[in-house]
């Protein structure tokens, strides 16, 4: 099995989306033939953690150090992140295709 890129799921307990985000990430890794266990879970507990990690909301997924869905204009802090799916709808988790694309980009 090829080595998975560094894959982080940054989460905050105030949002109930962590389990689903983790599942999406594991599925995306497995779908690319990578180890689904390679996900590093990073809990963000305080505003200080959020500042240090430049955390703009839960869940935040980084593959190879790059945000799956860049959010440069979002304020840093403990909140739930709003994603736009490819069909335009609002979601607490990223579009699965965005996750897969980020993984493919990181291993290409």
């Amino acid at each position: 099995m090829p080595t998975a890129p560094e894959t982080q799921l940054l989460w905050w307990e105030g949002c109930p989306s962590t389990a689903k985000a983790h599942e999406l990430l594991r599925e995306a890794l497995a779908g690319e033939g990578l180890d689904p266990e390679a996900v590093e879970l990073v809990e963000i507990e305080t505003e200080g953690d959020a500042q240090r990690e430049r955390f703009v909301g839960s869940p935040t997924i980084r593959v190879g150090g790059v945000e799956v869905a860049p959010a440069d204009r979002e304020p840093i802090g403990l909140s739930c992140r709003i994603y736009r799916l490819r069909d335009g709808s609002v979601s607490p988790t990223p579009d699965p295709e965005d996750i897969r694309e980020a993984i493919r980009e990181a291993i290409s």
């Binding site: 105030g14 949002c15 109930p16 989306s17 304020p75 802090g77 403990l78 909140s79 739930c80 992140r81 709003i82 994603y83 709808s89 609002v90 979601s91 607490p92």
Partner: protein, 170 residues
Amino acid sequence: MNIGDPAPPFELPATDGTSHGLDGSLTAVVFTCNHCPYALAWHDRLLAVARDYDGRARMLLINPNDAERYPRDSAEAMRERVEGDGGWPVPYLRDESQAVARDFGAKTTPDVFVVDADGRLAYRGAPDSDYEDPSQDAAWLRGALDAVLAGETPDPMETDPVGCSVKWAG
């Protein structure tokens, strides 16, 4: 607050400067906000309920989040959102002190409380079973309103609210 308990009275300001509270009619009190993806995902379904039950039941949307830490939930941001949408069919109320949310025991955004004409809690929980599926159409909320209007007990009477935690101050 448990099913059957009297709902706490309140009076809160809306984005248009008017004030609203319980008035002895069937009312869906929905704690919601601007910045939560779950609240946004359910928003259109809730407004559809408000339109469909107009004249039979009222809906009050209440934003209780701490605006100091979450400026997107400030009264000004609420007003901008409503105006940006060209107006809503329901009042969007600001619970600045968070006292109403605390009195109701609101946990998440959204968190739905159906209060009957006697002022008692008839349903509490999520609008429906899946924020991701618009075809659910706020079925639990609609079912609760239909049941109360028919003089029956909602089934279910209570579900787990799903959404972002209410952002308490301090």
